[in-house]
């Protein structure tokens, strides 16, 4: 497959929403910076279902990344309820959260966050190691996933031998490889030129059409327009939650 730029809002498929994956209610997050208390989230409630393609938007400092980390079980709320696939994760221990992140969540970062001394293949294998898969199965699945994101030819390259767009594809393959319930991408095009950014968004479109559930955090309208639903944050509160036009 060779992803081509898909113009937003034309001929696009919208899959019917499935089971509830994420259900948060009244979530707050406080950060203490010395004597100062920062209210990063002031009470956010959100339901996200399987097969959704959601964009979280908002100006810088509005709490997008904080919400994203919460949704991705990297962080726990100061207060409020968080049900992930029907399980209450708000008060889970570190290692339980680690296992949920490993099995249920695929992260894509703005800065790719690849291991510099490992090949693309080894990078993609990493979540499978943590999942306890034997070597041959890991290799096979990682290779297949790299192939699916269009990097079948570059599997044994180290990150510094790849372009920015290729690196982000490796990162996306790594997020996909363990067949997670949702993919979380925080500003996935933030470090890419606009042409490459468009290509990456086309890949997300493809992944969505193939049956993945995707949440993208961005502050760019152009990027958000690819999603089917847009949640806007301001000062730690949801300002609006509507289908993309």
């Amino acid at each position: 497959m060779s992803p081509s730029p898909v113009p937003a809002n034309t001929h696009r498929v919208t899959r019917p929403p499935g089971a509830l994956v994420i259900d948060i209610a009244g979530v707050t997050k406080l950060y203490k910076m010395g004597a100062e208390i920062i209210h990063a989230l002031r009470g956010v409630s959100l339901e996200i279902r399987r097969n959704e393609y959601l964009a979280i938007m908002g100006p810088s400092g509005s709490g997008k990344s904080t919400l994203m980390n919460m949704l991705g079980c990297l962080d726990t709320p100061t207060d409020g309820r968080y049900m992930f696939n029907g399980k209450n994760v708000a008060h889970m221990e570190d290692d339980e959260l680690a296992d949920i992140r490993n099995r249920e969540i695929g992260f894509v970062f703005q800065t790719f966050n690849l291991l510099p001394r490992s090949t693309a293949l080894a990078n993609v294998e990493l979540p499978l190691i943590y999942a306890g898969l034997p070597a041959h199965a890991r290799r096979e699945r990682a290779a297949q996933t790299l192939h699916d994101v269009g990097l079948g030819e570059r599997m044994l390259h180290k990150p510094n031998e790849l372009s920015g767009g290729q690196r982000q594809r490796v990162a996306i393959a790594r997020a996909l490889v363990n067949s997670p319930s949702i993919i979380l991408a925080d500003e996935p095009t933030g470090n890419l030129d606009s042409k490459t950014g468009v290509e990456i968004m086309a890949l997300f479109e493809q992944l969505y059409e193939d049956g993945n559930t995707i949440i993208v955090v961005t502050h760019e309208e152009d990027i958000a327009r690819h999603a089917r639903r847009i949640v806007r944050l301001r000062d730690g509160l949801i300002e609006s939650d509507a289908p993309a036009v």
Partner: protein, 416 residues
């Protein structure tokens, strides 16, 4: 369990990639461990070498021989209790052997009288002083723990008739005859002529102090005629079973008291000595030296360990973002802990192996330069230093690795 093995092998791979990527830094850190391991293993080799030499020396005294003497081998403060003892005379051997023969299931085999004094040996122009000349019976062959290199020991007839024959220690024969055969030659021991009938093989020295190759053995009767036995003698008693030392000693004490016709309650007027007593006396000194040596060299290993700890802290700091990423991908705390421990242990092991090779080379060198120094490089030393390296790696890597495993993933991911 399987997952742990996969994580471990990934950690090893990453650790070596990391070491390769930071060659100089890793080498400098390993150097600290190398120095520490070299110091500790060299000290270990020296200690075990000294120990071996010490044991070899003790074995020259015979581990199955009890010495009946006037004085004990250990220091005494109440010397007045010993000085008045009657001397041990060679003649005591006869009644003692009679008692041994009468005792059913005796643990003692035979008592051999040995008188001794320092003499000067001469042959033509060649002269050796401080020769220890022993006068003994033909039974000496039963307690001799060195080969006769050439010739033979004297027999009972020669002993009884008081013939002036002698068996020379290796060094004396060398010094007097310089490579030529000593057999059939007349040597002068304190200006008394003795016919050489045998030469002993080389034995080495006792604790490097006193040479066992510096002796001459002559028949007791000839010794008496030539030098007199007023200075007293000792009885060397061979045990049948060296593992029953305490019982044999008890039996010998009883037999000696009968020979000396001592009354019940009277204190023994003789001492029973054996090599184990010397060992018991020197062992604490030896282990104190060993402890001090290992402690001092252990300090250099400690410095190496600090280097490892430092480099692991640096590595954790540099890779904070990677730690965050790994946690996001599902690494548990123990995964991260393991990874940095493996890295610390890897550097330590590299240092340990290199250090061990260096020590091995040095020991070979010392062995070639000083063949008499009993430096042995044992397989135990290999296991010890590998174990020490692993322990140093774990101990010094633990604090930074623990810190890494406890990092909040969100904070770690935000780290630039």
């Amino acid at each position: 369990m399987k997952r742990l093995i996969y994580e471990l092998s990934e950690s090893v791979r990453i650790a070596f990639a990391q070491i390769r990527a930071n060659k100089l830094r890793s080498a400098l850190t390993a150097l600290g461990v190398i120095i520490g391991i070299v110091a500790v293993t060299l000290m270990g080799t020296a200690i075990s070498g000294i120990d071996t030499g010490f044991q070899n020396s003790l074995n020259m005294l015979g581990d199955d021989i009890l010495y009946v003497q006037k004085w004990p081998w250990h220091d005494v403060e109440d010397w007045w209790n010993y000085v008045g003892r009657p001397p041990i005379t060679p003649e005591l051997a006869t009644p003692l052997n009679a008692i041994i023969a009468q005792t059913p299931n005796s643990l003692l085999e035979i008592a051999v009288p040995v008188a001794g004094r320092g003499t000067t040996a001469k042959f033509n122009e060649n002269k050796v002083s401080n020769v220890i000349t022993f006068g003994t019976s033909a039974d000496y062959s039963r307690i001799l723990n060195v080969e006769i290199q050439e010739g033979r020991l004297f027999n009972e007839t020669e002993d009884a008739s008081g013939r002036r024959v002698c068996v020379l220690g290796y060094d004396i024969a060398e010094a007097l005859f310089q490579g030529r055969s000593a057999l059939g030659q007349q040597v002068l021991l304190n200006d008394q002529p003795f016919l050489v009938i045998g030469v002993l093989a080389k034995q080495g020295s006792f604790l490097g102090l006193m040479s066992f190759d510096n002796q001459a053995v002559v028949p007791l009767e000839a010794f008496r005629k030539s030098f007199g036995t007023r200075r007293g003698a000792e009885l060397r008693v061979k045990m049948k079973d060296k593992n029953k030392l305490e019982e044999a000693r008890e039996e010998l004490i009883g037999a000696m008291r009968r020979v000396r016709a001592q009354l019940p309650g009277e204190r023994d007027n003789f001492s029973i000595n054996e090599q184990g007593a010397i060992k018991a006396q020197l062992d604490p000194i030896k282990s104190a030296i060993a402890m001090a040596g290992l402690f001092i060299t252990g300090l250099s290993l400690f410095v190496g360990a600090i280097g490892i700890m430092n480099i692991t802290f640096v590595s954790v700091k540099e890779r904070t973002k990677e730690i965050g990423t790994r946690k996001a991908l599902g690494a548990r705390r123990r995964t991260i802990l393991l990874q940095f421990l493996v890295e610390a242990v890897s550097i330590c092991l590299i240092g340990g192996v290199v250090g061990l090779l260096l020590t091995y080379g040095m020991v070979l060198g010392v062995g070639a330069a000083f063949p008499s120094f009993p430096a042995d490089f044992s397989i135990g030393l290999v296991f010890l230093s590998v174990a020490v390296s692993v322990v140093v790696g774990i101990v010094s890597g633990f604090a930074p690795a623990w810190g890494a495993s406890r990092l909040d993933p969100v904070v770690a991911l935000r780290y630039e």
